[in-house]
């Protein structure tokens, strides 16, 4: 077989595998969330479809696909159709830069276990997560409904304010690793994960990540008991399903970003790299679900206050401190 064909096949196989794993994981994350939340509230959670309710995601998909596809009167039709896709695609695309294992040798070829090792991976991630806001905002705007619009506006301002501290929390990581490439950042954590080197940045990134995932305690764009469903109030069937899946893929993405930036990526003793990576990502996902089971929703002004008056100054201070320390250690 010619060289280019093998390389091409390997890339296609890798892409297909990631796609399958990511979508399946997102579907089962929904089930896991419902189960874990149920157990935290002393009830068993879904357990009727298949053994232990394991076929529940399939039943949900069938339900979503067979529901009426509804577009409100005077909605901006094209934006309305486009928005859920945008939300799901931006979430999926982000996974392109996530390195989920050390390079593998297959058929005499070095296969890096990442779709595309961009040398500006951090910026790619930040850019796409800003772009993901559009899915939500356009969806809320195009629905021609007051609840959707309120949700979209809240989401927009929330994401802008938390994106900032998220980006600033990543600056110390980049300074420590001396690279924007995610693979290099993981390599730099071979000895000690950055969560221990710079716990403040870790905390700020963690909080911003929860805010970025639009989940409790920062689920103001949806806020079921204030805004019906927030930005996806008017969505039904598989369009709503796309928003939903996008949200859970986003959760996995944020989990893997947290793993890559602060928890040492695939680094770990005894077990192979991919296993370590999955364990860490799943643990972060569990933590997100745990937060949802524990925290109440913040009020809107509390959210803004916390973002602009506490997180942002703290992250700026952290950038300065880390820079100073690194300079001092260099001599």
């Amino acid at each position: 077989m010619p060289e280019w064909l093998i390389i091409g096949l390997l890339i296609v196989a890798k892409l297909g595998l990631i796609f399958m794993v990511l979508l399946t994981l997102a579907a089962y994350l929904v089930l896991a969330e419902r189960k874990i939340l149920g157990r935290m509230q002393l009830r068993p959670g879904p357990n009727r479809v298949g053994p232990f309710g394991l076929m529940q995601p399939l039943a949900d998909v069938i339900k979503l696909l067979t529901k009426e596809d509804f577009i409100p009167a005077r909605a901006d039709k094209w934006l309305f159709i486009l928005a859920p896709g945008l939300a799901a695609v931006t979430a999926l695309l982000t996974f392109a830069v996530v390195p989920f294992g050390p390079p593998l040798t297959l058929f005499g070829h070095q296969v890096p276990l990442v779709v595309c090792d961009l040398n500006i991976g951090v910026l790619f991630f930040l850019g796409l997560s800003s772009l993901a806001v559009y899915g939500m905002t356009l969806g809320g705007w195009a629905s021609n409904s007051k609840y959707s619009l309120m949700g979209a506006i809240r989401g927009l301002s929330q994401l802008i304010s938390y994106e900032l501290s998220m980006g600033l929390a990543l600056v110390p990581v980049v300074m420590l690793a001396r690279s924007f490439s995610l693979t290099d950042i993981v390599m730099a954590q071979a000895d000690v994960p950055f969560a221990l080197v710079n716990p403040l940045a870790f905390l700020i990134f963690l909080i911003s990540a929860v805010a970025e995932s639009k989940r409790i305690p920062f689920d103001l764009p949806e806020a079921e008991n204030e805004l019906v469903g927030g930005f996806h109030t008017e969505y039904s069937g598989m369009r709503f399903g796309l928003f939903f899946v996008g949200e859970y893929i986003n959760l996995i993405i944020l989990g893997s970003m947290l793993t890559v930036f602060f928890l040492g990526g695939w680094m770990g003793p005894f077990l192979p790299g991919v296993v370590w990576f999955s364990i860490k990502v799943l643990f972060v996902c569990f933590f997100f679900i745990w937060v949802r089971g524990t925290m109440p929703r913040l009020r809107y002004d509390q959210l803004m206050h916390f973002g602009w008056k506490i997180l942002l100054p703290l992250s700026l201070l952290n950038v300065l401190l880390t820079g100073a320390l690194l300079l001092w250690r260099q001599g």
Partner: protein, 176 residues
């Protein structure tokens, strides 16, 4: 200091949810596990018979008058021996709220509640129960009471034949 209180108040709930996650669930998983219902549970309504095996209902309409959602309807009729009965009797269980007020109104203890609640149904018309479906051949929760034995009107003994009872009055000849 208030900030320490805030931090403690943020972290403590995590421990509580984690602890509760590991406790056994309290849900009773219904079709497989059934709880024992209390003896006076108000479920499906029935029309009972007296100890002689005859229908208790005298079609007095008190139950349908007491019913807050108007789900009971009937047509009264009188048998040859003067005993009243319902020609037809109908309860719309898709309206019924199982409050049991009809059983409290019933002077003959004919309409009674049971412990049965499994009457879910995909066709709303099938939740309208007729007399044949409501009638049972036992006394329900009141095994002794027999209205006509107590009142005696016309049936247990002929009219005016009961001890200490006057002959029936012909109201027509009291007219001026």
């Amino acid at each position: 200091m208030s900030i320490w209180r805030d931090i403690k108040g943020t972290l403590e709930p995590f421990w509580i949810t984690l602890r509760n996650m590991l406790r056994p669930v309290v849900t009773v998983e219904y079709p497989e596990v059934r709880t024992k219902l209390p003896p006076r549970y108000r479920g499906r309504l029935i029309l009972t018979c007296d100890p002689d095996g005859l229908e208790r209902c005298v079609a007095c309409h008190l139950c349908s008058a007491a019913c807050p959602v108007d789900c009971i309807s009937m047509q009264a009729a009188e048998a040859q021996d003067g005993r009243r009965y319902a020609a037809w009797f109908r309860i719309n269980f898709s309206r019924c709220i199982f409050c049991g007020l009809c059983t409290e109104a019933c002077p003959t203890l004919a309409i009674q509640v049971t412990g049965d609640f499994e009457m879910a149904n995909r066709n709303p018309l099938e939740t309208v129960w007729e007399k044949e479906q409501l009638l049972v051949d036992h006394c329900g929760r009141e095994p002794e009471y027999n209205f006509y034995r107590q009142a005696g009107i016309g049936v247990a003994a002929a009219r005016g034949e009961n001890p200490g009872e006057d002959k029936p009055v012909d109201v027509k000849d009291l007219l001026p």
